[in-house]
Amino acid sequence: MHIFLIRRVLAAVPVIAVVAVFVFALLHLAPGDPAAIIAGDLATPEDVAKIRTKLGLDRPLPVQFLTWIVQLAHGDLGNSIFSAHPVSELIGQRLEPTLTLTVMTLLISVLLAVPLGVIAAWRVGSWIDRFVMGFAVFGFSVPGFVIGYALIWLFAIELGWLPVQGYTPLAKGLWPWLSNIILPSVTLALAYMALIARITRASMLETLNQDYIRTAHAKGLATNDVLIGHALRNAAVPIVTVIGIGVALLIGGVVVTESVFAIPGLGRLTVDAILRRDYPVIQGIILVFSGAYVVVNLIVDLLYTVLDPRIRY
């Protein structure tokens, strides 16, 4: 087990390395002079030169690459071109709203989508199955920002139940915090739920056909016990895998959702950085997001052995 753990963690290292190299390479492969584009149309040649020095673009490529890797190894993501603050500090300030949003979304999605998928598979072909499958196509097709605005219009403007936009830290009370986070979490959860419900149904359909399910029914177990204890338990591995892979979808959605609901998190930081062409900040956020994705999928891999003791590495 420990050997597996070490081996699996080591396997994540090349992925992160490729991400780092890739993000570095983008700056150099992009068409045109990045320093000139970051500086904008109104920049003087001196401004462009200053940015070039700041990004280290005036030094030889191998030197640039080594500096970037050494900095990264020290947890230094560089400084923002716009505000000169360290990127890691900027990211740290924006972490709470984004974490709140993603954890809420994850909870809503898993708690609703897994039961929906189980029921759909159990009653395959029924109206509830057709509803879940229809919802899956819908949730996957309607863009998050369209759903977000539709929800704001209905629940905040027409009904007035929830605030339109914004974010209140948890420190200022449970309800103000919760009321601001409900709509964005539901918005973000829809696509994710569609994905999870669909794979839960598919995976359950496969296990429900197995002989041991018939045996469990035959020996008189309650339907709930068969569905959850026998079928879901065995269908869990693909479901957990998709939950892990779906985190990439979730992260992409965070950027858009935070923008719709004016939540001051990492997504907003990204959008601000785009508008200011603050490349070091964009680089830093990509590394943090990709790192999160790799870590989540590492946890998923470790969960396999818990969910299915037959899997041994």
Partner: protein, 293 residues
């Protein structure tokens, strides 16, 4: 699952109308999705003749008008006709969706075929693909766009890049299973060259799932382009697209929700219809997959 097996005896030759009815019955999702998509494609092509005016002409005296006989969807903060912007906006979405689907499929196919067949290349290529897949698609596109001047071509390139690894993975997995088949062995034994094996023997078998995948990529590309334009990192503001039209309307959302919701509705219907076509194609081309999903 019960598959309705409709057999046609030679005596009763189906009329073309009868054939269409039979097709719609057997594949309702493709029929509905395809019809919707066709409508959207035709409307985008015929945008100039559908009662539209110049979508970028500014008219400060007619700002933020409500829908009327003259301006069907109202006007935006510059007095531009919203209906025209929505009609022309479909062009950007469809161009980006189709180009990204075609480009990422071709590039991914080439890399996947070679990587799946030649073990020496495989390890390196797949590590690079793993790394690329760890970067969320929108973030990767944003990084590329932040370093370039805004244009539709850059948007297409930026949306294609994160889709390529998905195609590579699919093609590679198909090639890996096919590689061990006796007919490939036979082809190698009689001295067929590697490129010929790839193109003549492996490619045709990889096509059906690839076509399905391309449809889903098209839907996802339309979504990502709209999201990028909405965030201000996509289609340049002088070209109307659904994403940047929505971004234009967001400041006035509480007063005029239609400015955001109308382009959003068209966007949602487009993506939905492409996904429906994809689901239907999957059922038609790959019955094995259809049962699983």
């Amino acid at each position: 699952m019960i598959a309705a097996a409709t057999t046609v005896t030679p005596a009763e030759r189906p009329t073309s109308r009868g054939r269409i009815v039979a097709f719609v019955r057997r594949h309702p999702t493709v029929a509905v999705g395809g019809a919707l998509l066709l409508l959207i494609v035709l409307a985008s092509i015929a945008a100039p003749w559908l009662g539209t005016v110049d979508p970028i002409s500014i008219d400060p005296s007619h700002r933020l008008r409500d829908p009327s006989a003259e301006h069907w969807f109202g006007t935006d903060r510059f007095g531009r006709d919203l209906y025209s912007r929505v009609m022309y906006g479909g062009r950007v979405s469809l161009i980006v969706g189709l180009s990204v689907a075609a480009l990422s499929t071709v590039i991914g196919l080439a890399i996947g075929l070679v990587s799946g067949y030649l073990k020496a290349v495989d390890a390196v290529v797949m590590r690079i693909m793993d790394g690329m897949m760890a970067i969320p698609a929108i973030m990767l596109a944003i990084a590329l766009i932040a370093l370039s001047k805004a244009s539709i071509l850059i948007v297409i390139a930026a949306v294609t890049l994160p889709e390529v690894p998905r195609v590579v993975r699919l093609v590679r997995s198909i090639v890996l299973t096919l590689r061990e088949q006796p007919y490939i062995e036979a082809a190698t034994a009689i001295g067929t060259s590697v490129p010929r094996i790839l193109v003549r023997h492996l490619l045709p078998n990889a096509l059906p799932p690839l076509i399905v995948q391309a449809t889903y990529i098209c839907a996802s590309a339309v979504l990502i382009e709209a999201a990028l334009s909405f965030l201000g990192a996509g289609t340049p503001p002088e070209i109307p697209s659904w994403g940047n039209t929505m971004a234009d309307g967001r400041t006035y959302f509480q007063l005029k929700p239609g400015m955001v919701l109308l382009p959003g509705f068209f966007l949602a219907v487009t993506v939905l219809s492409i996904n429906l076509v994809g689901d239907g194609l999957r059922d038609m081309l790959d019955p094995r997959l259809a049962r699983r999903m």
